[in-house]
Structure formats: C-alpha cells, structure tokens
Amino acid sequence: MNVEVTPLPGIGTRQDFMIRAGRRVGVVTHRDGKFELIVSHQDDPDGCAASIALTPSEASTLAGLLGSPQLVAHLEEQHREVAGISTKQFPIVPGSRFDGSPLAETELRTRTGASIVAVVRAGSVHPSPRPDFVFAGGDLVVVVGTSDGLTAAAELLGGG
C-alpha cells in the first residue's frame, strides 16, 4: 500500500492512502500527540468528508479493532501446518453466561478439547490468557482445535 506522508509545517504530519473505492483514508498526527482520522469526499478527493479527532487511547482501540482479524488470520496461518486443526473466534455476548466469569469456568478444554489461545478486548490482544482471566461482554475469544472441538466450543460459548 502506498502511504503518502505529507509534512504539515507547524501542525504535524498527514499520512494517507487511496483506497480502491477512490477515497483517501488516513491519519493526521498532531505534534502534541493528538490524532485525527480523515476520510476524503467521494467526489472531491482533495477535501475531507470527515475529520475525526481521536485521543491516543481511542486511536489505539480503533487500530486494534481493525488489526485483530489480522491477528486471528496470523494464528490460523500458524496452525495450518497441523492437519485437522483450525482457528476460530467467538464473541462473548454481553449479558451471556460467561460475561464476567473467569476463563476456567468454561472448562472448554475438558469439554471440547479445543483451547483458548487469545482474547481480543476493545481492540487489544491478550495472548495466552490464564485460567483466572475474567471475560467481559464484547470480548472475542480465539479458539484453536479440531473442527468437532470448534463446533462444540461454539455451542458452549455462544449457546450459554
């Protein structure tokens, strides 16, 4: 991807790129550490349809949200060599059975043979969560296992 970096004297830098839909998407980084997410107009690529101020923590959350599918894809890639094993992600629905309960309570490995390798929360990844890791609504649980194991895990995690 061809990211264009443009200095904005006295303000900071603009980094953006053209997406296939013909719009520019990017970030203006202010010198004082503030961010702005920018999206250009459909019919006027010079101008911005939206320019959204983000605090550093909001920016990293957004980056995580956009980046976490890639992490899952990466994990999947790692386990592809082992025949019969794949990776899937399941959401913890807010208010569901495991919302607020520790990982150990799912007894996932015992009951399905699949294991939890990571939890993605608010865009940031918690790799290899320990049994005392407490789930919260909206978490994405990344599970590795056989296809039967994953089906069982889906039932267990989603069906609660």
């Binding site: 200095p7 953006d16 920018i38 010079d46 101008g47 911005c48 320019s51």
Partner: protein
C-alpha cells in the same frame, strides 16, 4: 480608593471583558482579534471610559504580547522546516508578495505617506494571519485536505519573509538618513543570517541552554531568554519582536514543543493586551475618514489572496474546489498586520492615519477571513451547479 485597588479593578475588568469577547467571537465563528481592537477603541482616547493607572502595565504587557507572538511563531518551525518550505514554495511565495503587498503600497502612495508608509502598508496587506488560519483550518476539519499543505507552506514563506521584512522595516523607520537606514538594514540582515546559520547548525545547543525538566525553571528560562534577546535586539535597532522570532527559530525539537505548550496561554493573555492597547491608542474618530480606503483594500486584497491560493494549489495539482478553499483560507489578516502598524506608528515616521487604516483593515479582514473560509464551499458548489445546468452553447 487606593491606587492599587483601582488599577486591579480596571485590569480585572479589562481581562474579564476580553474573556467574554473572546468566547463570543469563537462562538459565532470569527477570530477574537477584531473584538479586542474594538474593545481597545471603546476605552481609549475619545472612547467611552478612559482608563487611568494601568497605562504603564498595559504598555509593557502589550510589548511582551508582541514578543510572545513572534517567539511562538518562531517556535512553530525548525530552521530546517523553514528551509525546505522556502525551497518548495518560493514561487507561490513571490506571487503572494507581489499580488498582496502591491495594493497596500499603492494605497499608501496615493494617500501621500511616502516610501516608508508604502513599505509598512505593503506589509499590512501582505501578511496573512497564521494564527487565525491555523485555527479555522482545524475547526473546519481541513487539516487532512490535500490543499492544506499548500496553504501552510505559503504561511511558512510569509513568516520567513517577515523575518527579513521586520528588521528592514524597523531599520528604515529608525534610519533618519538614507545611509543610516542602509547601514541599519545591512546590520539587521547580517544578524538574521548569523541567527539562521546558528539555528541550522547549532540549534540543539541553544535548545539545551534553555531546556530543563522542571517546568518552573524551564518557563523562567524561556521567558527570560526571550525578553533578554528582545531587549538587546531593540537596543541594536533590530526590533524586539524580531529578536524573539529569531530566538524562536533557533530553539527546536522537543524543547520548542514544550515551550510552545507552556507559553501559549501567556501569549494569548499578553497578545490580547497588545490588541487592546493598539486600539486604545487609536482614536475612533480617525477611522471614518479612512473607512472607504479600508473597504476598497479589503475587497481587492481578498481577491488577490484568493488568486494566490488558487494559483499555488493549481500548481500542486489540486482540483477546482480545493483551489477555491486554499484561496479563501488565506484571506484572514490579523496579528502581524497590527504588529507592523504598531511598529510604524511607534516610530513616528509615518502619519497616525496609518494606524487608523490598518485597524479598520484588520477589523474587516479578521472577520472576513474565517467567513470566507466557511462559505467558499457552498458558494463554489452553487457556482458549479449553475454552470452545470446552464444550457450548453450550440
């Protein structure tokens, strides 16, 4: 009442009043500068309520205001940024000077203010207000726009032009004889060259000298060095403001960022005082006679700035809408036009009418600038639509 008590009450009333004016200004989407000027006009000679007992303080604080305005302007850029900006945008910069200084020069010559007045008025109509423009671009969410770097690099060029122009202006204003003026210009140009070289090669030493991890020590060192340099510069006939500007350029990196963050509120406070004092010293009765000229200059220089921005943006391959936005963004004049006018008037070399014309002109342009930047898009869209629906010539 005790003298100190009266002074405190007056000062408090002035600051509080300015606060209210500033809040009102940003709420209706214009810059507070014209309101500060009007505030000053209202209280000064011939105004509603004359102030007594705070003249000395207001005079000194307005001087500090100018010093901080230019120090922070210098802090905005590193010398390297100025140099690359200069290389990239000098053609647009030259077009900018020619188009926008000329109306002021012509007006001054026609009004009979001579070459010195022409030099000053040229500066007043030339220099855009980087303060207003940066704020408006941020407010309108245009920092990510493609034409914005064009606008900013024109501003960088203008600021660099100011670094050369202000010492020349002060030298000319101070120079009684032609030879004396020429010597002063030579001295100030040499001083700028030395500072730019120091800033480019040894900027980090200057930064290290004022830097400190302790905020209190840092603030005292930055402010102290700025006032010292400004004082020495003014003793050497290179205006105090220019000295502060050059110091600002020499300070770079994280030191400059910290200094900017720390000094910004101080600048806003003292600069507000500067505008008020400028307004105080201008007799409101002197404005109506020059109002016609101010309006004419406002109309002409709005068009010439739009043309400058349009031209500069087109050279960078920006579309029509972006060119219009770039042009309209550059329209605002403000703090530096007033700085130029106040230097000129303080020297006594030019008619006091210049202050009146500059005030009226800045009043118009500081309001017109943000408004132009706002309305340009809907206007341009309407215009394109009208052209789009017009029947094609057979």
């Amino acid at each position: 009442m005790h003298n100190t008590a009266i002074a405190l009450i007056q000062l408090g009333a002035v600051f509080f009043g300015l606060g209210l004016l500033g809040k009102m200004a940003w709420r209706i989407g214009i810059s507070p500068i014209p309101l500060y000027l009007i505030g000053g006009l209202a209280f000064g000679q011939g105004g509603l309520v004359p102030l007594h007992g705070i003249e000395e303080f207001s005079h000194i604080s307005s001087e500090i205001g100018v010093i901080l305005l230019l120090l922070l302007l210098g802090l905005e850029y590193s010398a390297a940024e100025l140099m690359t900006g200069l290389k990239r945008s000098w053609t647009a910069g030259v077009v900018d000077i020619v188009l926008n200084a000329t109306p002021g020069v012509i007006a001054a010559l026609v009004l009979g203010w001579g070459p010195v007045g022409a030099l000053a008025m040229g500066g007043v109509t030339y220099i855009s207000s980087s303060g207003i423009i940066a704020k408006v671009l941020g407010d309108l969410g245009r920092l990510g726009n493609r034409e914005t770097p064009v606008v900013l690099s024109v501003l960088v060029f203008e600021d660099l032009a100011m670094a050369v122009y202000l010492p020349i202006l002060t030298a000319v204003l101070a120079g009684v004889s032609f030879v004396g003026g020429l010597t002063a210009v030579g001295v100030s140009l040499a001083a700028i060259t030395v500072v730019l070289v120091i800033a480019l090669k040894f900027g980090r030493y200057v930064s290290a000298l004022v830097d400190s991890p302790d905020p209190e020590v840092f603030l005292l060192k930055v402010l102290g060095s700025a006032l010292l340099v400004a004082g020495v510069a003014s003793q050497l006939q290179v205006s105090a403001a220019v000295g502060a500007f050059l110091l600002g350029i020499a300070i770079s990196g994280s030191t400059a960022e910290n200094a900017t963050r720390m000094l910004e509120p101080l600048r806003d406070l003292f600069a507000a005082m500067f505008f008020v004092v400028f307004g105080l010293n201008t007799d409101p009765a002197s404005i109506p006679p020059v109002l016609g000229w101010a309006v004419a200059l406002a109309v002409v220089t709005t068009l010439t700035k739009v043309a400058t921005g349009w031209w500069a943006a087109r050279r960078q391959g920006i579309g029509r809408m972006g060119r219009a936005r770039a042009g309209a963004a550059l329209v605002a004049r403000g703090e530096f036009s007033i700085v130029i006018a106040s230097l000129t008037v303080a020297s006594g070399a030019v008619d006091g009418e210049l202050a009146a014309l500059a005030t009226a002109y800045v009043l118009l342009m500081a309001v017109l600038g943000p408004v132009a930047a706002r309305v340009v898009e809907p206007l341009a869209q309407k215009f394109t639509r009208m052209r789009g629906t017009a029947p094609a010539p057979a």
